[in-house]
Every structure is written in structure tokens, then in C-alpha cells.
Symmetry: C2
Subunit: 176 residues, 2 copies
DNA sequence: ACCCACATGTAATGTGTTACATGATTTT
DNA sequence: AAAATCATGTAACACATTACATGTGGGT
């Protein structure tokens, strides 16, 4: 039930097309919620049928119409209602940890190489988040409230990557 | 494709029934891979058809036969092969962070309460992991290699919960 | 000439969740 | 007497992934 709400969140921010939404899910929002363009188009269809969003067709020369989606009043109420509900931690499915569980079945190097690869991935992502932090959120206390919320999602991303990075290093050290 | 391999990992450890597997997925392994009993039974059927596992029926008085699943040689090869493959970070879908994105649509208290609730949940889980750590992994360097791998999965759990806890506290502080 | 960005979709398959179903034994 | 644990499953539905499909305009 939550892709629907994630879309509402983004459309509340600004009316946009499925294509634009897909790009956002691929970028910033993608850290905590991923969705493919196929999922998004399907969900938009449902949202429209329920009248949580409505479409404004924008004619374009040569190309198919751009469908600009707006949140309706009903949609906004649904979103606010959802925001008030409790949300439990999301289930995790982390293949690398399953592999660690049986790590002794393969040569040590196989695991160490994989840990190194993952360490680099997380280090890179962490550096990326940190650069955003420096550029846009130099003084968190001084930010307007909406920006504080955005800042906090970024902070979670930073914590997440930093934790993975630290763990990879600890694991590599213990195993070598 | 990974529930199959997670099951193989557990069956390599010890032959067991679908019911027993479900309990493990609900407990220790459940931190990094969840699966319901229905998923497990379905997957076991597929694994048997592919001859990655085989069944030993254990007759029981009054109850239906207990089906004890063993990994076959083919299954073991498939598992080892999978262990050698790279695994990318798993996609995240964290509703609370989506909510944070639009936190300004509801009164501050709604968000603060939810953060408090989550903080308590993560603190509790962290305490649980730490107690396991103290009881079973007092001296990591001295552990045999299989136990070191298990220890590392626990360490990731600890890092994960600690990061959530710290983030909840940071968020509560910034927003109040 | 080829690839990338724009813009939207259908179809098929795979994975995950929820509800329902059965029936014995053990614990409260 | 009621509830929980043992033990296995079917069925329906919801959600996610992958492949395929179409067509324009701009850059290399």
C-alpha cells in the first residue's frame, strides 16, 4: 500500500508526469523507496481510478501527450491520514549476510573480495551523500521546516552507508 | 532467486523440515532475510523438483509425516556457485523515511511520537543483539571460523539497530 | 548511422502476503 | 476447557521485475 503514498508525497511537492516520477524514484527518493517506471505507471492508473490524483493532458508537438498528475483533495486527505499511522521497520533481505552465514564453504578470498567490492560501493555512496550535505545543508538548525525533514532523510542515508562501510572493514579485518 | 539459496544455507547446516526452517526464518536468520512458511513450502517444492534437495519422510504417530529435507550434491554445488557471485546492496523500502519527506503536512507531534515509538523498538532490538553478543561471542578472535561468520552477521544487526537508534534521537532533537 | 533522452505503455513471470483449512498433542 | 505448538498445505491476491514495444528529437 505504500508505493501509492510515496507517489502522493512526490506529487504533493509538484505535479508531474510518470516519467518525471520515475526519475525521482531513481534519484533522491530512491535511497529509501525504489520503483521502476512500470510500477509507477500502473500505480498512477489505480490512483486515478480512485480519484486520489487527476490528470492534466499537455499536448506536445510530435510527441505523445504529457500527462501531468495532480493530487486531489481526496488524495491529500488519504496522504495525511497515512502520515498519522505507525510504520514498522521494513523487512530486510540482504543476500550478502546470507552468504556470510555460509562463508566457510568457500575459500576465504572469495568472501574478502566481495567485502572489498561492497566497501568501495558504500564508500562511494557515502561520499556522494556527504557532498550533498555540505552543499545544501551546512547549517541544519537554520533551515526551514520542510528542508529539515529532507535533511533528516539524507542523514539516514549517511548513517546507513557509514554503518555498512564500518562493518565491511571490521569483517575484512577479522577474517584476514 | 535468493530465498532458494537462503534455504540451502540453512539445510547445509542441518537437515530439517519446512516447519523448522520457518522458525529459523522467524528468529536468527530473520534479521537479514524474512520468509513466511508459505513461501518456504512453495520454494521447497521447487527445490525438490530441481533436485537441489531431497526428502526423507519420517513417520510419526498420529501426525502427518515429517518431511526432512537434505541438500543434494547438485544443491551444494549451486550454493557454492552462488556464494562466489557478487551481491549488490538490496533495495530499501522504508515507509518512515517517505513520511519524513512530507512531514510538514502534519503537526509536529505526530512525527515526534512516531520517532519515539521507533526509537524504543530499535533500542529493544539492539539490547537483544547485545545480550547475544555478550553471552556467545565474548572473544571474537578466538572463535572458530564458522562462528566468526555468524558473529559478523550479528555485528551487522547491531550496527543496523544502533544506526536507527542514533538517527531517531538526532531527528527528535532537531525537530523539537 | 547510432545512441541517448523523452514519454508511455503491455505481457509474462516471479516473489511476497493474507486468509483459510486440518488435525493431533501439550501447556495453561 | 481453551489456547498454544506441532506440521503441512491450498488459494487468492498484491506487489515487483524483466522483457518487449513504439516513436520523436537531439547530439556524436
Amino acid at each position: 500500500m505504500s508505493l501509492a503514498h510515496a507517489i502522493l508525497v512526490l506529487l504533493t511537492d509538484s505535479a508531474q508526469s510518470g516519467y518525471d516520477l520515475a526519475k525521482q524514484f531513481d534519484g533522491s527518493v530512491g535511497f529509501f523507496w525504489q520503483a521502476s517506471h512500470q510500477q509507477i505507471y500502473r500505480e498512477l492508473g489505480k490512483l486515478e481510478a480512485q480519484q486520489w490524483v487527476e490528470v492534466e493532458a499537455i499536448a506536445q508537438a510530435g510527441r505523445p501527450d504529457k500527462k501531468l498528475y495532480h493530487v486531489t483533495e481526496l488524495g491529500k486527505q488519504q496522504l495525511i491520514n497515512w502520515l498519522g499511522q505507525a510504520s514498522d521497520p521494513s523487512p530486510t533481505r540482504e543476500a550478502l549476510l546470507v552468504k556470510m552465514f555460509s562463508g566457510n564453504l568457500v575459500p576465504r578470498d572469495v568472501i574478502l573480495q566481495e567485502l572489498e567490492r561492497r566497501r568501495d560501493l558504500h564508500a562511494k555512496q557515502l561520499a556522494f551523500y556527504r557532498s550533498i550535505e555540505e552543499q545544501h545543508f551546512a547549517n541544519p538548525q537554520a533551515l526551514p521546516i520542510e528542508a529539515q525533514f529532507r535533511y533528516l532523510t539524507l542523514r539516514k542515508g549517511i548513517g546507513y552507508e557509514a554503518d555498512w562501510l564500518a562493518w565491511c572493514e571490521e569483517a575484512m579485518q577479522l577474517l584476514s
